[in-house]
Symmetry: C2
Subunit: 393 residues, 2 copies
């Protein structure tokens, strides 16, 4: 037995060293981030030659620079062997993101394997479970299946990629049919964003397991109509950089959405009717949800706008954006459940207030949730956990 352990340990270290040939950056000797028993978190970064190391993350209080809310920054302190360290205040439960700033250069924590990509940004992450953030954790509950699926999009002119969540039991109950929620990302994201930063699969698993949400299929599309798929899954060269992708928010994605719904209704066991179909989205995805549902008033029984990009649309770019008032009149005659959520320091907060004033003036009912904070994933996860239990009930 001891001999086997020695042999396997040798193999492991050899394999690890061999991997290191190609992979070269195994987790370093420091433990970072370390979640302490008292609820503080210690960040560590080893660099003997650095002059200054800082940590920036959404666990630090935001700073106001000019009129812009900017993520807080804290200095780390150098200790023995060039290990820089910073210990936070006691942190509330949340799925946090952070980076190090080493002599002015911002890098992910190389000791942390939990890296989430959101469109064109990478962030190292950690979860402090508890309270609402328990919904973001992986628990010992039945888990749904998360599939990356390609579908034909004649409107786009090529096949495109989406993510489909089927709830636990989908495979073992071959006659069961399910409602469908379409969950859309923002302008900086893609079909993966809600799964990574949004923890949507965990939220769905946990809400369904506790009986707070109905078992449902969830569909995560790519709202950048020029892209086939997320970066390094796309064949047509359109990867995200810090420039706009062509055709974004010009109505083409909204026009193509019937292709998505038809594909899902054809390939999955859905309840293919309005009262079993919901849509929601964050920022640009809120804009998409607004126009897709307004242009298809008989399709969606539930609409959710999360920090939605309302009030920024030029009608001239697409028929999808024209005659919104008449379209809303028809949509609201069908009594949809309409949910609007926004943070009160979001740069889109006033635009959402204006949109709600328009709904108020027309006497259209909706439910509004105001939170603290701005245009951030923390809020979008909150809105999703609020929205899902309200639909299909």
């Amino acid at each position: 037995m001891k001999k086997a352990i020695l042999i396997i340990a040798a193999l492991f270290s050899l394999t690890f060293a061999a991997n290191a040939q190609e992979l070269s950056n195994a987790p370093g000797p420091v433990n970072s981030p370390q979640i302490n028993p008292d609820g503080t978190v210690t960040f560590r970064f080893q660099d003997r030659k650095a002059m200054k190391v800082q940590v920036t993350g959404d666990f630090l209080p935001a700073q106001i620079v000019g009129r812009q809310e900017v993520q807080g920054v804290a200095d780390m302190k150098e200790g023995e062997n060039g290990v820089w360290e910073y210990t936070s205040e006691k942190l509330a439960p949340e799925f946090y993101g952070y980076k190090f700033i080493v002599d002015g250069v911002t890098i992910p924590d190389p000791a942390n394997l939990v890296v989430c990509r959101d469109g064109s940004t990478l962030t190292t992450k950690f979860l402090i479970p508890g309270d609402r953030a328990d919904l973001y954790a992986i628990h010992d509950v039945p888990h749904g299946t998360v599939s990356h699926v390609w579908y034909p999009s004649p409107v786009a002119g090529f096949n495109r990629r989406m993510v489909v969540y089927t709830p636990a039991g989908y495979e073992t109950n071959p006659k069961a049919k399910y409602p469908v929620v379409y969950i859309l990302h923002g302008i900086g994201g893609d079909e993966d964003s809600w799964i990574t930063h949004g923890r949507a699969a965990q939220i769905l698993d946990n809400l369904i397991a506790s009986g707070k949400a109905k078992p449902m299929i969830a569909v995560f599309t790519n709202g950048n109509i020029s892209q086939q798929a997320a970066v390094h899954q796309t064949g047509n060269g359109y990867i995200h950089q810090s420039t706009m992708l062509p055709k974004t928010m010009e109505g083409t994605f909204e026009t193509s959405f019937n292709e998505v719904v038809n594909f899902i209704d054809k390939n999955y066991r859905t309840i293919a009717k309005k009262q079993s179909r919901a849509i929601c989205g964050l920022s640009m995805g809120g804009h998409h949800s607004l126009y897709i549902s307004a242009n298809n008033p008989d399709e969606f029984g539930y609409v959710g706008l999360f920090s939605a990009a309302v009030g920024v649309t030029d009608e001239s770019v697409s028929p999808m954006y024209q005659d919104l008032d008449a379209k809303l009149a028809k949509q609201f005659a069908g009594k949809p459940f309409y949910f609007i959520a926004c943070g009160n320091s979001d740069f889109l907060f006033q635009a959402n207030k204006s949109f709600m004033a328009k709904l108020d003036a027309a006497g259209y009912p909706y439910k509004f949730m105001e939170t603290d904070g701005g245009h951030i994933w923390k809020n979008w996860r909150i809105y999703l956990t609020e929205y899902l239990p309200m639909i299909f009930q």
Copy 2:
């Protein structure tokens, strides 16, 4: 029209800035890596304060340090505005990985979004298409579905996660049945490794689309029996670090494998018989493939050992590892297709030669592929592209 573009551009920059609040490291001002028309690649990293910046990657010739093969390192040169640069030789087509070493600290390229995790290591990657590496690229061919699926494992004592690839057409041909290949990772990896570093979904898509491989289901298990799933998808706290996970290579995973096969045969439209079932794996996954197939001689018509960890097993730790010669005799009486591949500078090359000598002595037929190089993903991708066209024919 112009107005809409201005509004949307403003929204985009606002959203981007807002994301930056949380995400803080959007791709920097440098373009890296840049694949040049002449086949060279330019790497860039901006750091005004660094004293020395280097690049290390598998595109550089390996160095021999002592008896160990170590990844090559090249110095980058500082230019204007603190942008450090290095341009490679003309590179052969391949899916390369690399990192920067900034004053001795190894970090991923912060300008590159293509980050692959392999167990506990992160690497930034780039693909130079062409030749065999065209199989690793995304082409305009029908794409299979890649699903993350949870299955019950009574042997492990909890639910576990696997990845299932169903070929294009699986959903639209509801009566078709498919052969299944089980593709296993190494000791430093998990169920995601073959999808990320291995480019297995692209290889399957491309080989199937060209008619070189049969349409097949592919299953990627997690061979670390203590883990429910890959890091940050696991609920039981066992994440990879540079230490061994409990119960690894003690026969438990091999014992549990019937649970995997039964789950797949129950939940997917498989041809559930030996001649339509294949297994293969790299390193520890080769060890697993050897023992799983030898212990279940009527289950697998095709076996592939890629740089397999053979000759390191202590019989005393598990009945799965005992009486191998008798098990192989029974297995080879059933005339499996047996494929062994190894790099001639792999630290397991001699162990594989010894294993083949044992097969030779017993008169058991197999096909052997020797390549240059060591225990690296480049070779494992090659072996997979060779193996898949040979099975189910």
